[in-house]
Subunit: 423 residues, 2 copies
């Protein structure tokens, strides 16, 4: 299993499998998804044994509890199988005619949705992602090349074996799900340059992984997942209701990309609102990094241990924890400028009763998701009703924000003529 | 003018201008486009003088006639101005609500079309592209950073000056049209890594430029423009009509990406059809590279000077000239396999009366444009009714095939709630 891998061979096999997948009917794909869900149950013992091997090694190496929890499949396999069945139940975007027209010369032209082909996915030590991504790809007729975190290699080997077996049992090419069966990081770099066979790279992980992919890939990369998210509390906001939105955005799941990072508060209400805000957020264990004006309100005596003076880099930090940056601004424009300078264009919102301010905020904030009187936590494929989410993109090409099944597709133009020539 | 350029400064200015452009109404953008068209006339003398300087230098350096023709603005300026007015007349895609829904929790969600932001365009010595791209970008609320061929630097400097002047006269930011005013190639490499400020790179040029961009860019690149295009003549095809389609695809404009490169002919009709095909295409001055079976039909005595034996690399060559690869295949599957192996996924077609074969071809050929009984030459934004074309993409993300105004846009998600929190 630790032999040198030949990525071009693996890519070529994935490409060949993709050609076959592109021709499958929705029923064939759904049957394979149900076969995969069944196989996850049938092979539960082997999968859990492989996962136990990974967990033991991870514990030995001192992995922290949060990461161990993400690595563990304990009690989760039936949920993962249920998710696969949910993907089967989603509408199939492939084959959809997006546009059709008859040109003045009589030629029929249509734009039809097709699979992308081969998708490379690079992720951390979360074996559930292996099944999740493979099933979304299969539903959209795409082959995948998976590269999960090295700590989960036994789990992934077992899971991919089950997936491939289920595909083969349905008469589909096992090569549709490829797996880089090596912890060696050189293969990540190699995968990123396999542009001959791979159509899209999805990194799922931290800022470092996204940056590495962008710097080194010759294949289009869906970058995202990094959210420095803002809420601006306008002078006209319903303050009591705003407290609950801020509390939700900051504390409901602080470790994720759509959690709140920086709160901007209009100076007209700061003296009144900031102490109420701090009192509410302290209930969730939040601590604060405040600009000078916010500091003078939240920590006038300098004796509040949970309010520190913000440094400039704090505004460019995705906290992923119970820390909140707080800044007082005099105007909507000042809030817009702060967001333009520091947002990662993921999710930003305004809390206001002023329609004109809401409108300007919506028009001018150039982020994947822009909210009026709502929590940033809504930026999510499930919340948006996409039925699935393969990534949250913060770039602007192809897909922006939550990417569902449709964002795993492309289209082709089909021209049907009667021996038409161009004049 | 030959001072060192500071690309980050230029990028920052473009980004700031883009924020302003994003807020313009359609009327404001159209007024600016008409002002640009007017200014091109007003400043005709200065523009033509600058172009004459470029032409003189190019002649001195021995530039060939075809390239000189592309470089020259002689007699073309009013046409270019008319094209700008045509862009003003096109519908504005910005602001279009692509999708809208009310989520089960009552939050309103919409997907609204917005500008991309800043677009970098790298192109050859064609000054008309400078105005063309700038006007399409302005119509879609995007700023551009232009990098034209070094042979056209005086023309581009003059044109960009006129464009910037017209923008400023309309009260719009002149920095919306940025120009890399240096022939130094290091700036191309620098532009490709300006990911902090640039959202998309469009290379317009040959395979070498596209490959350079893909290898060196940290910004999403629209690769394309390279077409190894195929037509497959099925046994059931109307042969007389097919001759005209092939003639059109090969000879109408052999130097462009949607011109025919390889003809695949079913073996059942090859003995009859190939000589007729050769006779017809010789009228256009076409010469042939034939596989052994085609060679035995087209050049049985070995005395036809315009029919050579094809070598393997010929199937991977975009001819851009009056050369045609010819190969005999026994089945549709063999044709599909050849296309899968050698097509650049630009434009491929089948000539057939067999509906099942047409259907399989359309389903299985994974190219940006797939034709049934039509010339590959139709792959073009104008022909497809897009009203404009900024590039022809052969990659699968974002835009595929001819890219019009819509492909210069992205979208944002807008959520409007009543202080909604995520449960």
């Amino acid at each position: 299993m630790t032999n040198a891998l030949d990525l071009p061979t693996l890519g070529r096999a994935a490409r060949a499998a993709a050609r076959q997948l592109a021709r499958l009917s929705t029923d064939q794909k759904n049957a394979a998804l149900h076969a995969i869900a069944d196989a996850l149950s049938t092979h539960q013992t082997a999968i859990m044994a492989a996962n136990a091997t990974d967990l033991a090694a991870a514990r030995e190496s001192g992995m922290n509890a949060a990461l161990l929890d993400r690595l563990s499949l304990e009690g989760r396999l039936s949920g993962i199988a249920a998710d696969v069945r949910s993907v089967a139940a989603l509408p199939d975007p492939i084959g959809e005619v997006i546009d059709s027209t008859v040109l003045p010369n009589g030629m029929q032209l249509e734009k039809r949705r097709t699979p992308l082909g081969v998708i490379g996915v690079i992720y951390e030590a979360r074996p559930n992602v292996t099944v999740d991504v493979a099933s979304l790809a299969l539903k959209t007729g795409n082959a995948v090349i998976l590269r999960g975190g090295k700590e989960t290699i036994h789990s992934n080997r077992a899971l991919v074996g089950v997936l491939q077996g289920a595909l083969a049992a349905c008469g589909l090419p096992a090569e549709a799900v490829q797996f880089i069966d090596s912890p060696d990081r050189q293969y990540v770099a190699e995968l990123l340059r396999l542009d001959r066979y791979v159509d899209m790279i999805i990194p799922r992980g931290g800022a470092g992984l996204h940056e590495f992919c962008r710097q080194n890939s010759t294949i289009p990369v869906i970058t995202g997942g990094i959210g420095i998210c803002h809420l601006y509390v306008d002078a006209s906001a319903d303050q009591a209701a705003s407290l609950e939105v801020i509390y939700n955005a900051k504390t409901q799941r602080p470790s994720v990309c759509n959690a709140l990072d920086t709160l901007l508060v209009n100076s007209q209400i700061a003296a009144d609102f900031l102490p109420r805000m701090a009192a509410r957020l302290r209930q969730g264990g939040v601590t604060f990094r405040a600009d000078p004006r916010a500091l003078s309100i939240l920590n006038p005596q300098g004796d509040a241990p949970d309010v520190q003076a913000a440094v400039e880099s704090d505004w460019d930090t995705e906290w992923l924890s119970l820390i909140l940056g707080v800044r007082v601004v005099d105007t909507l424009d000042e809030a817009l400028d702060h967001i333009a300078a520091h947002s990662t264009a993921h999710s930003d919102g305004i809390l206001t009763a002023n329609t004109a301010h809401a409108q300007r905020f919506v028009e001018e904030v150039d982020s994947a998701a822009v909210y009026v009187n709502a929590s940033t936590r809504f930026t999510d494929g499930g919340q948006f009703g996409l039925g699935a989410e393969v990534a949250v993109s913060t770039q602007k090409l192809h897909g922006r924000g939550p990417m569902g099944l449709r964002e795993l597709t492309t289209y082709k133009w089909i021209g049907r003529g009667s021996y038409h020539v161009r004049a």
